[in-house]
């Protein structure tokens, strides 16, 4: 063995031991409760265990919570959630000094165990496993699906011209272009329905309905955890549960989260996407208060995180997924009142545009621009520069407008150090701009993206709002159904493993039928070869998200002696990161108190200012807030200021009343 090789092995062993040690030290394994069948609902906490520079324990630091496995069909979620642990601890340990990551990798372990039992067919059933009379017939779980053709899968049955005695109605046809696909007939083309489509199985209870009550991939039974949370809970809907949080799993999660006020951001791996499909902003439920999507003032943050997500994962499109009513992420946002994101982690490859592939699309869009558009080759930054220069805006505004978000944060942080006169001057310069430009500056200052002004296009269509029409190929692709795209993917890239071809079967109750369809789980889960890539992508995204969690620095800004025994104290709080200390929904929901500054003096000693001062929010990227008191206190004495923040940690400042403190 060469010396080089030996040392290389020794080095890698040491590195491995180091990583092992790190994960043991930084990862704490515990549980948030038990599933209905008594399985542990595992919680992994990633954090340096010792108190941080502010004395905060891991459960007192701003935290990101990652949850997966609510819908057990989404197997990739728990897998990636688990693989984040080592990756974050090994590669991003520095982030875990003053921040915490909680990972709940599998909220529905009963389901996995149910389908892991010997001989259980693979099935598209992601709900909880619970005794539930889905069809209200006083028999529980009596009509589950069956793997009739013993291929290890619960797929579908199609019945051609079902006789009336079966109670079935034909409403579909096999698509002539690809007869594997069942679709609605188009009467305009002279098509009439020929087939009924059912889940594979028997009518066990003889009630004329197939597979309507049972957990084996049936149409009914069980509770969908993503329909069981109280936000917009879809009362009475199949799968919603008898009441919200009826399931031990959803209840345990909510109860635990309500003991963790330090969770300031939530990321869900599951069938929903709200990163590439940003929820509707500014609309409320009929009660007039609860948002249907997100608050308008939170939208810029969702847009920025969407950009971050695209950058880190390369994913540019995703199906929106099921309705968000009753979902965990909707609750985490609208009731727990933090920014909550959700991604399916993996999507069909045609929805992931490679970076290079994006370019031609942009070129097409440019080519489509009408001839009278201003300088079509100009970059947005150049266009903004030109626009502001034309209006005579001072250079500092132009610099601000064309800066990258990071540069802008830096500029805004610098602005805090300017004298009040300078700040007023600069504000006046902004106010002097034409109204349209002024609005753009304000929007950018609030973290939004703006476009240079351009004459409205023909038909008022916004740039990039829709894919280009016209090209034959594109148009026909657009008409391709989702099923067709999945089949194409299965055929071309997955060796046809995604679809069980229709096979004739002699059904004991229905006579000749065909059994086949998409392999359960195929459309939700990637092949094993993709696991590493996806874990890396989501690690990068989680780490980036972690870098944006708000944090609060509070410092003594000024102590001024106004007279003997009369002092003016100014304290400044700065949010050093990207997210605001309180999201728009947090400010609306008021689940937690704001940042409270409690000056520990007698009420009578406060000559001016509020003894208890509240900071409702401090915007991120260097946003600051001030609190000022004039107090009567002996020269040289010390005053205690308690700063309370449920999310960002409590702390205390001791203020000594001596001259010229900064």
């Amino acid at each position: 063995m060469s010396v080089f090789l030996a040392s290389a092995i020794a080095f890698s062993l040491a590195a491995h031991a180091l990583a092992q040690d790190a994960s043991e030290r930084l990862v704490e394994v515990s549980s948030i409760g038990k599933s209905r069948s008594g399985r542990t609902l595992q919680l992994l906490r990633l954090a340096h265990p010792e108190p941080d520079s502010l004395g905060r324990t891991p459960d007192q630091r701003p935290a990101l919570l990652i949850v997966a496995g609510l819908d057990a069909r989404h197997e990739i979620g728990p897998r990636v959630a688990r693989s984040l642990v080592d990756r974050l601890v090994t590669n991003h340990a520095d982030l875990l000094r003053d921040r915490t990551v909680y990972i709940i990798p599998d909220l529905n372990p009963d389901n996995a165990a149910f389908f892991a039992r010997a001989g259980a067919p693979k099935s598209d059933f992601g709900r909880t496993i619970v005794e539930y009379d889905a069809d209200r017939d006083a028999r529980v779980n009596e009509d589950p699906a069956e793997d009739l053709n013993a291929d290890g899968l619960i797929t579908m049955m199609r019945v051609k011209h079902p006789p009336p005695a079966t109670g079935l109605t034909a409403d579909l046809i096999p698509d002539p272009d690809d007869p594997r696909i069942m679709r609605k007939p188009d009467p305009a083309k002279g098509e009439a329905p020929t087939h009924a489509l059912l889940i594979e199985g028997l009518d066990n209870d003889g009630d004329g309905r197939f597979n309507e009550d049972g957990p084996h991939g049936s149409a009914g039974g069980g509770v969908d955890l993503n329909m069981n949370f109280p936000a917009l809970w879809p009362e009475h809907a199949d799968g919603a549960g008898p009441y919200s949080l009826s399931e031990p799993e959803s209840l345990a999660l909510v109860r635990w989260m309500l003991t963790r006020d330090n969770i300031v951001c939530v990321l869900v791996f599951g069938p929903h996407d709200n990163l590439l499909n940003i929820p509707e902003a500014g609309r409320n439920a009929p009660d007039g208060r609860e948002p249907l999507g997100i608050e308008s003032d939170d939208k810029p943050y969702y847009e920025e995180i969407a950009r971050l997500f695209k950058d880190t994962t390369g994913m540019t499109g995703a199906p929106k997924g099921p309705d968000a009513a009753g979902s965990f992420h909707q609750w985490a946002y609208a009731h727990f009142a933090v920014h909550a994101f959700t991604t399916p982690v993996w999507v069909r490859p045609d929805l992931v545009k490679a970076k290079e592939a994006e370019k031609p699309a942009d070129a097409d869009a440019d080519a489509e621009k009408p001839a009278d558009a201003d300088q079509p080759d100009e970059s947005p930054a150049d266009a903004i520069r030109r626009e502001f220069q034309a209006a005579g805006a001072p250079q500092f505004i132009i610099d601000f407008m064309v800066a990258t978000p990071e540069e802008r944060a830096e500029l805004m942080a610098q602005a805090q150090d300017r004298t009040p006169e300078e700040q007023r001057e600069r504000m006046a310069a902004v106010m002097a701009l034409p109204e349209e430009l002024r609005a753009k500056v304000m929007a950018v200052a609030q973290g939004q993206q703006v476009q240079p002004s351009a004459p409205p296009r023909a038909g008022g269509r916004q740039q990039g709002a829709r894919p280009a029409q016209g090209a034959q190929g594109a148009a026909s692709r657009a008409r391709e159904s989702d099923d067709a795209k999945w089949l194409k993917y299965s055929d071309e890239q997955r060796n046809r493993e995604g679809f069980a071809d229709w096979q004739p079967f002699d059904h004991p109750q229905l006579g000749p039928v065909e059994i086949g369809g998409f392999v359960p789980g195929f459309r939700a889960n990637p092949p094993e070869s993709e696991w590493t890539r996806l874990a890396d992508e989501q690690t990068a995204f989680a780490a980036a998200l972690l870098g944006k969690l708000p944090d609060l620095a509070v410092e003594l800004h000024a102590v001024e002696r106004l007279s003997t025994g009369l002092w003016r104290i100014t304290v400044r709080g700065v949010n050093t990161r990207y997210f605001p200390t309180a999201s728009a929904i947090a400010r609306k929901a008021r689940r937690l108190p704001p940042i409270v500054l409690d000056l520990r003096v007698e009420q009578d000693a406060v000559v001016a200012g509020q003894r208890i001062t509240r900071w409702d929010n401090i915007d991120g990227s260097g946003g600051a807030a001030y609190a000022e008191w004039t107090v009567a206190a002996p020269d040289g004495s010390a005053i205690t200021l308690d700063i309370r923040s449920a999310a960002l940690g409590n702390r205390t400042l001791t203020i000594t009343l001596t001259e010229d403190q900064r």
């Binding site: 009379d133 209200r136 017939d137 006083a138 109670g167 209870d205 003889g206 009630d207 004329g208 109280p230 936000a231 809970w233 009362e235 009475h236 008898p242 009441y243 919200s244 949080l245 909510v254 309500l258 439920a285 009929p286 009660d287 007039g288 208060r289 609860e290 609208a334 009731h335 609306k588 929901a589 008021r590 689940r591 108190p593 704001p594 409270v596 409690d598 007698e602 009420q603 509020q610 003894r611 208890i612 509240r614 309370r644 449920a646």
Partner: protein, 578 residues
Amino acid sequence: MRIAHAVLAACTLAAGGAAPAVAQPHVEGRVEIAFNRYYTYAELEDHMKRIAAAYPDLVELREIGRSLQGRSLWVAIVNSPKTGPHTTKPAMWIDGNVHGNEVQSAEAVLYSLWYLTKAYGQVPSLTDLLDRCSFYFMVSVNPDGREYWFDEANTPHSSRSNQRPVDDDRDGLFDEDPPDDLDGDGSITQMWIRDPDGRWERDKHDPRVFRRVRDDQRGEWTLLGSEGIDNDGDGRINEDGPGGDDMNRNWPSGWKPSYAQGGAGEFPFSNPETRAVGDFIMAHPNIAAGQSYHNAGGMILRGPGAQFRENLYPRSDARVYDEIARIGEDMLSYYRSMIIWRDLYTVHGGFVNWLAEGLGIISFTNELWTNARYFQRDISNPDDERMWLFRDRLQFGLAFKDYTEFDHPQHGPVLVGGLNKWSSRSTPTFMLEEECHRNFAFTMFHADHMPLLAFERVETARAGDGLWTVTVQVRNDRLIPSRTAIQAQRRIGTNDLLTCEPLAGGRVAASGSMNTWRDTRIDPVPFEPARVQLPAGVPGRGSVIHRFYVEGKPGETVRIRYTGERAKDIETTITLGD
């Protein structure tokens, strides 16, 4: 002789046989309770235990959980076991006092438990009712709030919530600035301060009265607000008192978080009290009627709590509500039938809303006591002058605390006093029994209209060679259907079942429903003809007719059974033949 007679009477009662006609309309009971006074929760518990001990056959006192502060939550299950276990009969849920300060609602439930148990075997109509139905009585859903109202200084309106600490003023501290009983009278009253710019003067003849001066006159007093000091030194008084969750906003149907519905709690059933009640009710699908007592206002309230949930009250259900409530208006003098969102205010996550909308149970909330009852004439809201007459001459001044001087740490010398916590909302004690009785009677009327099923007609006829028809009419003789329309529409609970079982093993070849007895054709059920599901049950004051085609020989017996969650199951047999 007299003793012998009494013993005889006692034996008759104990045997549960028909009681001898009572000479006067007084119903003797084994437990004496005065209903011209109020009871602490401990006293209520004691009364319930005495009743349970005195009527062991009728009453099971069950602890269904503990309150946040560890008090037992009791449900008294009242049932006549000789007609079957309580779970086999339609049942009525009756509770009170979910709002801690709404005290008489607990006495109303206790009265109901007391009267019903003593009436059994003595009052024929109530005996009959208790033979058909069972009752779940919960005197107080919020014993912590009740005890806090009795033990601590309060107003008529305070201590509504539970005792879970909530940071009302959002300063990161909990319950740190409650009101303070500065004059030690057991109530939170008012504080007045002398003020040359004040707009009030004290009446020269009656110093209890502060009167607003005319615009051109000079006043002497200003109302500072309710009694208390600035405990936490933040410049505000009484801004963060104990408790916070309104437990009548903590139920899962239409639940909204606290920024959309004040007091909602952290999530539905987040409180031990509401969860215990919820678990009990969901474990008893035989509950077909509900009443939850509150104060005040003289209302018979039903849902929905919000306009956008009107669709959860299908027309046929709404008619049942209206018919019961209309008679209630006659039974409960000065009470009015109202819809919560339309006639009161919008409520999300209320208890009767959960019963009605989540579970499809015909349920009301009665708001006990109304100012119209002070004078019992056409004076619905007596003016202050009349009220002094009532307070002085009928309550002998007990609802008022004289003003006394107090040296307030923030305000200096102030006057403390005024109307105490008994001065409104709670029924004046001398009128309490009547209020309890009328409401008890209303709930018994409501309970009486829970589904009551019977086979109206069962007939068989030859339909072919070895084939017979068995035609069955099931009648519901009461207002409430065996499954409410919302249950059918929203698939709540288990469908009713009508089964036909040829005991000799014959086959039921077909079956179907008919509109009238004279129909010659059936509307066939396509599957399971011998086990017919009825999602809509049997309508109120109506019937269903169903015909089975049974294969068999003459003389063979067929068993017909109707089962439903909210009606007592019925069963009959018929012998095949002409």
